[in-house]
Amino acid sequence: MSAPLLPEGAPLAATLAAALVLGVGFGFALERAGLGSARKVVAQFYWRDLAVLKVLFSALVTAMLGVFWLSRFGLLDLAAVHVPETFVGPQLAGGVLFGAGLIVAGLCPGTACVSAATGRIDGVFVLLGIFSGMFLTGLILRKFERFYTSTAHGAWILPELFDVPYGAVVAAVVVLALAAFAVAERIERGAR
């Protein structure tokens, strides 16, 4: 989901400037967390360093609590927040492909940009691979159109899926995150 930082109809220059500032901030945070290094990212899959899980889950929980309470206090219109549509089958398949690529390359699109920007050669090659893959997928997408648009559920959110209040889902995700952090710390201590 993406929340509207600027009002609808804002000038293109303002939108691009906001994207630039946010992008630089995001990249800075990723680099400061050490996620520009493929070794650090891959270490997660060997249960040696779970920084990726901790950093990204922290970001998710922070954003989720921020969106919930900003909306609750009337400072953010949730109806203006874009929710991408859910396609269960294609997104499961895409997730498996993405995960495989993440393990092989050691970088995801965001961390590949950070890696390349900090002069790491592997980051440059992963970015080249990403753009080549996007180009090739664009060429053959029509052949997979039926699958690509299958199992559609529209804009689907967890409170609707589980038929529970928004706040209950927020609390459940917080508990899940705290449990994940505790388990991750224990695993990391065991690996040392």
Binding site: V83, G154, W156, A171, V174, L178, F181
Partner: protein
Amino acid sequence: MSLRARSVLAFATFAIGGLAAVAGSSQPPLAGDEVAAVDLAGWLRERREKLCVLDARSADAFDAGHLPGARRLADSAASDDGDTVVVYADRDVDAGVADALRRQSAARVLRLHGGLRAWNDEVLFPVLRGDASAGQRQRFEARAALSRYFGGTPRQLDPGEAAGRTRSRRGC
């Protein structure tokens, strides 16, 4: 980060998340001088006595469509009748309009939360997802009955059909 700092952070996160569960909805609670569209629809349906509904929009907008039984604010005096006066516009009515009405009348003056847009979305044209659960379908029936009473059209989406949520921009 020290263990103590981490514990404090974890506790604060847990508390803020727990408060979200207590709050339940992500929508701000109604202000003391607001009424929800569905509640107003219930009052109108049960023909609540001494209820006065005032439209704060222009004459053209009023003529194009208004709430059942509503009168134009500009053509009415709030003290004409009614113990309860509900005033509305396209969106939320400015609090100043309600304050001015309160100065003219001893009636309880309320603003329709979300205005005519909320009336249309929540009362006249409620939408049910195609993949809704049995409980959601059951609750929707009451909304659908209310919608039909006021001449609206409740709609059940096909599985996968977009639920009308704003999708003004693409993003990940």
